[in-house]
Amino acid sequence: MNAKGFIGSIGDDLPSLVPILFALLIFFSVFSFSLDAFNSRKLFFDRQLEITRIADGLRSNGFLLEYGQFRDLCLKLVVSRMNYFAGLSTRLLDPAGGSGTVDLFSEDFFIQDESDAELSCANVSRSDFEALRNRGRGNLFVQVYPVVVSVNGVVVPYHLVVVAWPRT
């Protein structure tokens, strides 16, 4: 019988294992990449939804009756998945001619209330918020909305600035 190159019934299938293994390698690599991309995008959208929810909760309909209403809205917020720091600011109303930069982390960025305490809403301390200054900004979410506050019958415009970042 002429049996050149004949290894055996299983041996003849050995060369076909190479493309099969290669195909499996490609499939699982692409699957793993896709799953990772899907999870990271989903996480990003969840965080965006969270900061949008925080901002919607704090600005109400955009017209706050007194500074006290801002504090009341703050107390009603329940945020568990992200750290946030929010407040009202006048610094963006006059950004030094439109081309100036403002320091979000400076002590005078957010306004103070009648008792000269910073009018802010946060689930972290001021020092934790200021520590972000030296961190990378990759995971920082910022939203700004114009709002007005009625104070003694005078309607004062501000910007509501909400800064949120994921919990480590």
Binding site: P19, I20, V30, S34, V144, V148, V151, V154, V155, P157
Partner: protein, 264 residues
């Protein structure tokens, strides 16, 4: 028999190659899907934020108070002196009543209110804020007016130098265009429509206010003038692609100093 076994081995390799081709095709499809996943959702987030910001801006502009002495938006400390303040909208209505036009102090105050409240997006977006007379009457008596009461156009100075796109650092033009004559023979509505068509993708937001004008009869009569308030926002484009000619629109360029707009 050897040939038969050899043929089976070749068939197995061929099958494996087909399997490789199919899996590679699926892999390419899966890769393409994952690369594009979330693009629509991301656009919706951006659109929703843009919409919420613009609606909040219009509301803030219409509700805000100004100082009667300076015509500028009040700050927190001004709230301690309520006698000196009034609603910006009240200023506009008072000034409009006599001659259906706004004087320079009110135009400057309104321009600065719009510019300040839209400053977070002012460097990355162009916008046009307009208050204009709407339609009045009905049926055969319907009058489409469209006369602008106040128009502020914030436009980037992007142009071409030869084939090169030139984008100066932070350079914007701020035009106030309510001094519009009728020499061009084109209505304000039509100019707005042409501008919108040239913008491509843009967002527009409306509100409505009620102005009053002195009736042509006696001093004691007045007519209502329902007036739309429009905020049109778009991504900056080269000037030659915009259907916006400051001369045709009857615009005056406002100068910017220390964050405040003023007429030269």
């Amino acid at each position: 028999m050897a040939q038969n076994l050899n043929a089976r081995g070749q068939a197995a390799v061929t099958d494996a190659l087909f399997f490789l081709v199919i899996v590679t095709s699926l892999g390419v499809f899966l890769f393409g899907f994952s690369a594009n996943y979330g693009a629509n959702v991301s656009e919706q987030f951006s659109a929703r934020y843009s919409s919420d910001f613009s609606v909040a801006a219009i509301k803030s502009i219409l509700y805000a108070s100004v100082s009667r002495s300076t015509g500028q938006l009040v700050s927190g400390s001004d709230s301690l002196v309520p006698a000196d303040t009034d609603y910006l909208l009240a200023f506009v209505k008072e000034d409009y009543f006599d001659d259906r036009k706004l004087g320079d102090p009110v135009r400057v105050g309104l321009a600065n209110a719009v510019y300040s409240l839209l400053s977070p997006i002012g460097s990355s977006k162009d916008y046009l804020f307009a208050v204009y007379e709407g339609s009045s009457g009905s049926g055969a008596g319907l009058v489409r007016n469209g006369k602008p009461v106040f128009v502020l156009a914030h436009i980037s100075d992007i142009g071409f130098s030869g084939k090169d796109l030139v984008i100066p650092d932070e350079k914007h033009f701020n035009y106030e265009c309510s001094e519009r004559g009728t020499e061009s023979g084109i209505t304000f509505d039509r100019q707005l429509s042409l501008l919108r068509a040239s913008l491509g993708e843009s967002q527009q937001y409306f509100s409505n206010i009620m102005l009053w004008k002195r009736s042509s009869g006696t001093d004691l009569d007045w007519d209502q003038v329902p007036s739309p308030v429009l905020l049109l926002v778009w991504t900056p484009k080269p000037k030659n692609q915009l259907k916006f000619d400051s001369g045709e629109w009857g615009c005056t360029e406002m100068s910017l100093a220390d964050g405040k707009l003023s007429f030269p």
